[in-house]
């Protein structure tokens, strides 16, 4: 059954770069706050660059795959930004799809289910939606740090080994 999820810009940018955005539709009904949409559309709206990340986002909004919705009361944990995505997840009691680990503790304490793009890649491999090589390529295309990529690749190797046993 599909789960409702509030989308953050960091997650969207990474899943688009990793070429796995299409799989989100299988698992999530996506929502994005307007401030998040503005961040994602930045290359297109401000720079005039038709970046695939922004173009795909607009297509999905037009197709109704992503719904733009603002929280009634955004949280004020940091200064701005992710607060709208977190506020939306809290109000809708839904998943928060975010790659930024800094707001994570507070989101977790508020009972929000938080998922990042690295976890989603591993999960897709486990579900046999993508191959091992596709998963590696997806990690290579992500904006994660070397340490984050190392952790994720270690998990992927481990999972592959256990699957083959």
């Amino acid at each position: 059954m599909k789960q409702y999820a509030s989308l953050d810009a960091s997650f969207w940018i990474n899943v688009c770069n990793a070429n796995i955005a299409a799989y989100l539709k299988n698992y999530f009904q996506l929502y994005a706050a307007s401030v998040v949409a503005k961040e994602i559309r930045y290359p297109l709206d401000i720079l005039g660059i038709p970046s695939s990340t922004a173009v795909l986002f607009n297509q999905w909004v037009e197709q109704g795959v992503i719904t733009i919705q603002d929280p009634q009361t955004p949280v004020d944990w940091f200064q701005s930004g992710e607060n709208a995505a977190i506020g939306l997840a809290m109000e809708n009691r839904c998943f928060l799809l975010i790659d930024d680990a800094n707001p994570y503790h507070k989101a977790k304490a508020a009972g929000i289910k938080v998922v990042g793009s690295s976890e989603f890649i591993i999960f897709l491999f486990d579900q046999a939606q993508i191959s091992f090589d596709q998963a590696i390529e997806a990690f290579n295309q992500s904006h994660a740090s070397k340490k984050q990529k190392r952790d994720a690749l270690f998990a992927l190797e481990l999972l592959k080994r256990y699957k083959e046993e």
Binding site: Q79, S80, D100, N102, H105, V114, H143, A144
Partner: protein
């Protein structure tokens, strides 16, 4: 919003710096004052970016707020963090919990359960 009046600042340069400034001014076809102004703006932008990155690394700010402070897009900030190989605190914990959440919500193989168990064991 009323437009504020520009404020004049004067600086002292040593002869080498002065000659270099003249050279840049000729190369760029700009006045020395315009070159200095450009350099000050670039320096301030760089300083803001550095401060934003340090704050992010310490967990004091989120990605969007850091980008906003530095006056860059979220794309630019993500790429700067990647270039400098900066992971926010709690990245590993978030990764493991995210995997568990996906497993509990959508199901998964025994292999995934074993993988998560081993990752948890390694972090404790």
């Amino acid at each position: 919003m009323p437009k504020s009046n520009p404020i004049t600042k004067s600086i002292r340069l040593n002869p080498d710096e002065n000659n270099f400034l003249k050279q840049i001014s000729r190369e760029k076809g700009l006045s020395e004052a315009a070159v200095l102004k450009e350099f000050v703006r670039q320096g301030m932008a760089k300083y803001k970016l550095e401060r934003a990155i340090v704050a992010y690394e310490r967990g004091e700010t989120d990605l969007s707020a850091a980008a906003k402070y530095a006056g860059v897009s979220i794309y630019h900030m993500m790429s700067e963090l990647q270039k400098r190989d900066i992971s926010p605190p709690a990245a590993t914990e978030k990764f493991i919990l995210g995997l568990k959440t996906l497993l509990e919500t959508f199901g998964g193989s025994d292999a995934l359960q074993r993988t998560i168990a081993e990752l948890e064991e390694r972090t404790t």
